[in-house]
């Protein structure tokens, strides 16, 4: 406690003032309870849902993620199976116990071997559902929870993410708004904020050896996104 008081006291001394309370704290309180937005890049402004999906796909290709678009959840098993076959990857998947993924008729492709749960590091392919996709930079947003273990996002060599087209938003700020809306008190303090929110933009990479960019540093070597829905601009 001594350290805490001394640090806070030191800050106040340096700033030539005392504790901020009452009227002085009110605007700060306001700022953290109703956060103002900063400048939003124009690139996603004014796009309809189809336009956002196109923008997401374009940016995803730029960051070396691959994208398949299918019309319905029923088409996902086929899309996943052919992606794995195309890259000569084993059809053993560790899948998040997510209600959306549960609705997919996996038995349509019986050769896909699917195990539900977290990854223990031995699964070649991880399969998750994204909470949302941010079209601004083709960033997937995944929120941890009992239905969404984070290990699936990092341990498998290949990460396949199912993203309903209707979930795609424009800027990061819209993703936070969606997450706030999903929490009971519509704010994200305490346990209302998921333990881990992962923003994922392309597969793992490094430039640490002579600045040469190599994929698959510690996380997945491949990131494949299956966008579900027939939104078109």
């Amino acid at each position: 406690m001594a350290a805490r008081d001394q640090i806070l006291g030191g800050i106040r001394r340096s700033l030539h003032r005392g504790v901020l309370d009452g009227a002085a704290a009110a605007p700060l309180e306001q700022r953290v309870t109703t956060p103002p937005r900063g400048p939003i890049p124009a690139r996603t402004q004014g796009l309809d849902q189809g336009g956002l999906v196109d923008q997401f796909e374009r940016c995803a290709n730029e960051v070396a993620a691959s994208v398949t678009r299918v019309a319905r959840l029923d088409d996902v098993p086929e899309a996943v199976a052919s992606f794995l076959a195309q890259h000569n990857l084993p059809a053993d998947l560790a899948m998040a116990p997510d209600p959306l993924l549960d609705r997919i008729p996996w038995d349509k492709r019986p050769l896909l071997r699917i195990r539900k749960g977290r990854s223990d590091g031995r699964d070649p392919v991880g399969l998750s559902a994204a909470f949302t996709g941010i079209a601004e930079t083709a960033t997937l947003m995944l929120a941890s929870g009992p239905e969404s273990p984070s290990t699936l996002n990092f341990l498998p060599d290949t990460h396949v993410v199912v993203l309903p087209a209707g979930r795609i938003v424009g800027p990061m700020e819209d993703a936070w708004a969606k997450l706030r809306a999903a929490s009971p008190a519509a704010k994200l303090s305490g346990e209302a904020m998921p333990r881990t929110v992962n923003f994922i933009t392309g597969p793992s990479r490094t430039g640490d050896i002579e600045q040469k960019i190599l994929m698959g540093a510690h996380g997945p070597r491949r990131l494949h996104i299956v966008i579900v829905g027939d939104e078109r601009s």
Partner: protein
């Protein structure tokens, strides 16, 4: 670590004579794919970049002006989410706190994500001395660790090394592998490191990461990486320890988003880094993975004393590295010459601010004041101005060398007497002009070896500037 910033001149001479270092710095400086060029291209693709810089600066200025309030709010929310916040005044307090947490969970090995605060408090040496094995997991940090070096760049720790040197270090360290294996390709080096570190991730008892931001609104810490090592570091062990300095806090998720838009672009030229991870507290009820404990070390180590001074602006720094990527001095001598944790222009300000101008006074002097650092800084930190403040401090405290002080005193004496000044410069330029007429330049000049030691001094031609100016105005 013991700083060698006082020996900058010696360090720089050695760096310039080091052929391997110069080869590595060549990739850094001139490569089409160099970090400075990548930044330029990313900035050109975002018309709002400068507007975002202004907002990012305003966010940090606002937070620093209310730092105590936002830190307390961060603490409250972090604690509500089940995390522990540890306030540490000094590096020593931070080291002891980390060790206590490691001991409590019975840690034998600790994986580490990249953290400059980890370097600042020299946590690796301390843990090793106390029987806990720290393992760096960022590829660059791992390379530097097995070579018993320190990072030479804040985002590209091994930028001073060539691929050949990395290969050699892997062969010397990974002696359990086949000595005849192929390692000539960067891909092979990466795969070898990936394989070795994968097991370390799974075995570690504690994971230590840094923090790019702390968020007051939610009690969250944020890390930004490309490799995914930071996530494996914090996700798999029993406890996650976050090392963060006070000024990392921002008010809200929206504020972090604004700064994220300038961070990766300034650092590596990416629009977003691959992984931006927001962590809030330990594993929740029903979670299938995640650390059982979540600790945040809040380190002061001299920062609160910078508030309200002419050096407060350096606390806006988000450690993107753009200043060093665009610095002609850094590109010539590399990061180790700076002699402590933080190199380049931001290091030339932060180092004397944290460890004193007595030790680090050379650094703010090792600048041409070309201003590129300030012009690329996403947080608009006036780096040259602050270096000048340190030069003034050095002069006022009589720390600068006698010859410099004598020279400045002589110049001041003349500058205050314009008539004498003009007469003397006219005389000097006419003598030098006549002496150097034949060759056009001087190879060697008494009292000016600092100049002629590395280049020729051109002989003055014609009249002095003042004389020409007078003639022009008269004419």
């Amino acid at each position: 670590m013991q700083p060698t910033s006082h020996a900058f001149k010696q360090n720089a001479h050695e760096a310039i004579a080091d052929a391997k270092l110069q080869q590595a710095l060549g990739f850094f400086q001139f490569g089409q794919a160099g970090l400075a060029e990548r930044r330029r291209q990313a900035v050109a693709k975002l018309p709002e970049f400068d507007t975002l810089r202004d907002s990012a600066k305003a966010i940090k200025d606002h937070t620093l002006a209310h730092l105590d309030w936002y830190l307390e709010r961060f603490e409250k929310n972090c604690t509500e989410a089940g995390g522990h916040v540890h306030w540490c005044r000094t590096a020593e307090e931070a080291r002891q706190t980390v060790l206590e947490i490691c001991r409590k969970v019975g840690a034998r090995t600790v994986t580490k994500g990249k953290s400059m605060i980890g370097e600042e408090i020299a946590i690796n040496d301390y843990l090793s001395e106390n029987g806990v094995v720290p393992i760096e997991t960022d590829l660059g940090e791992y390379i530097v660790q097995i070579r018993h070096e320190i990072p030479s760049h804040i985002i590209a720790p091994a930028i001073h090394l060539t691929q050949k040197q990395v290969e050699q270090s892997f062969r010397e360290t990974h002696t359990h592998l086949d000595p005849a294996r192929q390692l000539a390709e960067p891909r092979q080096l990466l795969d070898e490191a990936r394989g070795i570190l994968r097991q370390k991730f799974l075995d570690a008892d504690v994971g230590i990461t840094g923090a790019n931001f702390l968020i007051a609104e939610t009690g969250t810490s944020v890390i930004v990486t490309n490799e995914g090592n930071g996530d494996l570091t914090q996700l798999l062990p029993k406890a996650h320890i976050v090392l963060a300095s006070l000024e990392k806090v921002v008010p809200t998720l929206e504020d972090a988003s604004t700064i994220l838009r300038v961070l990766a672009r300034s650092a590596t030229g990416q629009e977003m880094s691959v992984y931006t991870t927001f962590s809030t507290g330990p594993r929740r009820a029903g979670d299938l993975d995640g650390p059982g404990e979540y600790h945040v070390i809040l380190l002061d180590n001299g920062r609160s004393a910078l508030l309200g001074t002419e050096f407060q602006d350096i606390l806006r720094c988000i450690r993107c590295g753009a200043c060093m990527n665009n610095c002609p001095v850094y590109a010539s001598v590399g990061g180790h010459a700076y002699g402590w944790v933080y190199p380049g222009p931001m290091g030339s300000v932060l180092t004397p601010a944290l460890i004193g101008v007595e030790e680090a006074g050379n650094l703010p002097n090792a600048s041409t004041f070309c201003g590129r650092c300030e012009s690329v800084c996403p947080m608009r930190i006036p780096l040259p101005k602050m270096m000048r403040h340190f030069r003034e401090q050095e002069y006022e405290r009589k720390l600068s060398p006698k010859t410099v002080r004598a020279g400045l005193a002589l110049w001041a004496f003349l500058a205050k007497r314009p008539a004498l000044y003009h007469r003397l410069t006219r005389l000097a330029s006419s003598i030098l002009g006549r002496l150097g007429r034949r060759s056009g330049s001087f190879y060697n000049l008494p009292l000016a070896q600092g100049w002629t030691g590395t280049r020729d001094m051109p002989a003055p031609q014609g009249q002095t500037f003042q004389a020409m100016w007078r003639a022009r105005r008269a004419g």
